[in-house]
């Protein structure tokens, strides 16, 4: 594991941009975290002062915002309002300050051999792919993003990825945009036109059932998938043992590891999917 240079920045909200009645993007002036963060890492945000919510909430680092000279000066968070913490983050105002702890967790592994990269995102699971895209574009890799949502209006930042040369494959369950159906439909088509020898790395983030389905298809095709899990998390530092996920052991059993320090990124083949807690959204 990486040595962790964790800092707690009292980050000013530079912007809160509503994408819809559910989604927003919050930009936080956290220059030390922005400079140190690697693709796929997360922060623990205190979304409100006082005792409710009592604990911070984990959020993927969405974008690294850079100044004119290229210096990292802020991070952004892609948020979907679900509970108290995310509801609070949906409503924050520019000028407020939020305690922001990070960067935390293991980043997406970047393999040396891959020439093609598939990113598979569902809903707010898009969040860890902007930083990954920037890192991989810099390496000159061919990137494809499979991006699924229920409805066309729930797809955000498609242009952001397209502008960076990412081959975008959009799916919607209501058929209002792109391929009709779940993201696995598009993935099946892509797999059918790919041979086992093609050097493709696959990264996936979204609802747990979606990640499980994606990983199963890739496994059938002889490939592993990097998945980024979202667990209920107490501290983000390895202190509380609440965010555990079950790994499969050689003996055929399972072993709980802390998602905050061993993850949130795992190789899908190492996970005991049946034992993963139901998705908490």
């Amino acid at each position: 594991m990486l040595p962790r240079m964790v800092v707690d920045e009292r980050a000013e909200v530079l912007e809160n941009r509503a994408l819809s009645a559910e989604y927003n993007v919050v930009t936080l002036a956290a220059p030390d975290i922005a400079a140190a963060a690697r693709p796929g890492q997360f922060v623990m945000l205190r979304t409100a002062p006082g005792l409710e919510p009592l604990l911070r909430r984990p959020f993927s680092i969405f974008e690294i915002v850079r100044g004119a000279d290229g210096t990292a000066r802020a991070i952004s968070i892609l948020n979907k309002r679900i509970g108290i913490g995310t509801g609070r983050l949906y409503a924050v105002r520019a000028g407020e300050r939020l305690d922001c702890l990070g960067p935390l967790g293991q980043p997406w592994p970047l393999s040396a051999g891959a020439r093609t990269v598939w990113m598979v995102a569902g809903g707010v699971g898009l969040a860890p792919f902007a930083t990954l895209t920037e890192a991989l574009v810099a390496r000159g890799l061919a990137l494809r993003l499979f991006y699924g949502a229920r409805r066309g209006e729930d797809l955000y930042y498609a242009d952001w990825f397209a502008d960076r040369g990412v081959d975008l494959v959009v799916t919607t369950e209501d058929g209002s945009r792109g391929v009709t159906g779940r993201v696995t439909v598009a993935l099946d088509r892509a797999l059918a036109s790919t041979t086992r020898d093609d050097a493709v790395d696959v990264y996936c983030c979204g609802p747990t059932p979606m990640m499980r389905a994606v990983a199963a298809r890739l496994a059938d095709a002889g490939r592993d998938t990097w998945v980024s899990l979202e667990q209920v998390m107490g501290c983000g530092m390895g202190g509380c043992y609440s965010c555990v996920v079950p790994l499969r052991t050689a003996a055929g059993g399972t072993h709980f590891v802390r998602s905050c320090i061993a993850g949130p990124v795992f190789a899908a083949s190492t996970l005991h999917w049946e034992g993963l807690a139901a998705d908490h959204g």
Partner: protein, 315 residues
């Protein structure tokens, strides 16, 4: 600069702040972020003889001004601890207190014996109060003879200071403090979490996989202060107080009630860098009140007025 040191049985801690067991991993998780030696002590996660997997998630749920946990004492066991974690804690200068668990009395004894054979353990906290495991633990802590027997048995095999951690899930915690003192405990710590429950009204199911969990956080603080106060009246041995502490004000309150030192747990989850802030705030409190030695505050509330009559106390 006030003297913040905290005498605790055979130890003199640099300050009264300890990281509470179960809330700070094995300490090493925080070693890159914090100077572990700046804490009064680090109480590491509870250890059995062998590894344990703990409960299936979800293991925590938030409640008003608090949280429930049912981790189930997942842990690496004492043998891996002394090999894999204790050396780094020593190297980092942490004053290490180990929380010792057992399903049986023999297990408490054996874990304590292993720890006593290794350099770098400052004291033993006996976990007779975890509400989340089926066998052992709280079964001892909810029985006066069980409390006495565990402390007395461990006393036989170690010269390390022994500090049983008491459960608040009893009618009269002070009688358990007395049982611990009579059995040879060097100190007591209290309180562990309050057995509690939360139900999801949409799914009509318990929010925790384990159904029940332990409540911690600011919600329990006044009850914990009361229990420390009662124990201070019952025993002479030092008391380590805890329960919802999140600020220097809270630390002072526990000390006034009778705590020689304190532990901080849940608040560390929300703010892992709270230690230096609380120490600075303790300094200002001392300056503001002309206190030269923080330890002089211990139990000060007891002399301030007629001691409280027990409101409802079994004889």
């Amino acid at each position: 600069m006030a003297d913040l040191s905290a005498p605790l049985a055979a130890l003199t801690l640099r300050n009264p702040l300890m990281a509470a067991s179960g809330c700070f991993g094995y300490g090493v998780e925080y070693a890159d972020a914090l100077d572990l030696s700046s804490l009064g002590a680090v109480v590491v996660k509870g250890l059995f003889l062998s590894e344990r997997e703990g409960h299936a998630p979800p293991r925590i749920v938030e409640t008003p001004a608090g949280m429930l946990n049912a981790i189930g004492l997942q842990g690496i066991g004492v043998h891996r601890f002394v090999k894999e974690r204790l050396p780094e804690l020593r190297a980092r200068g942490a004053v290490t207190i180990v929380n010792v668990c057992g399903v049986t009395l023999d297990e408490y004894v054996e874990v304590s014996r292993v720890l006593s054979d290794h350099e770098g353990v400052a004291a033993i906290e006996l976990n007779i109060s975890c509400p989340n495991i089926k066998a052992g633990g709280i079964q001892f802590g909810c029985s006066l003879t069980g409390t006495h027997d565990v402390v007395a048995a461990v006393r036989q095999v170690t010269s390390l200071p022994i500090m049983p951690k008491l459960t608040p899930n009893v009618t009269d915690v002070a009688s358990f403090a007395r049982a611990a003192e009579a059995a040879g405990a060097d100190a007591i710590s209290l309180v562990n979490t309050f057995l509690a429950m939360a139900i999801d009204i949409e799914t009509r199911k318990p929010k925790l996989t384990n159904v029940l969990g332990g409540l911690s956080g600011p919600a329990i603080r006044p009850i914990a202060v009361r229990m420390v106060y009662e124990c201070r009246q019952a025993v002479r041995i030092p008391i380590v107080g805890m329960g919802g502490i999140a600020s220097a004000d809270d630390v002072v309150e526990f000390m006034l009630a009778g705590a020689d030192a304190v532990q901080i747990g849940t608040a560390n989850f929300a703010d892992p860098f709270l230690w230096s802030r609380i120490l600075a705030d303790l300094e200002s409190y001392c300056t503001r009140h002309g206190v030269t030695r923080l330890a002089d505050l211990v139990g000060a509330v007891h002399g301030s007025r007629t001691s409280a009559e027990p409101a409802c106390r079994p004889s």
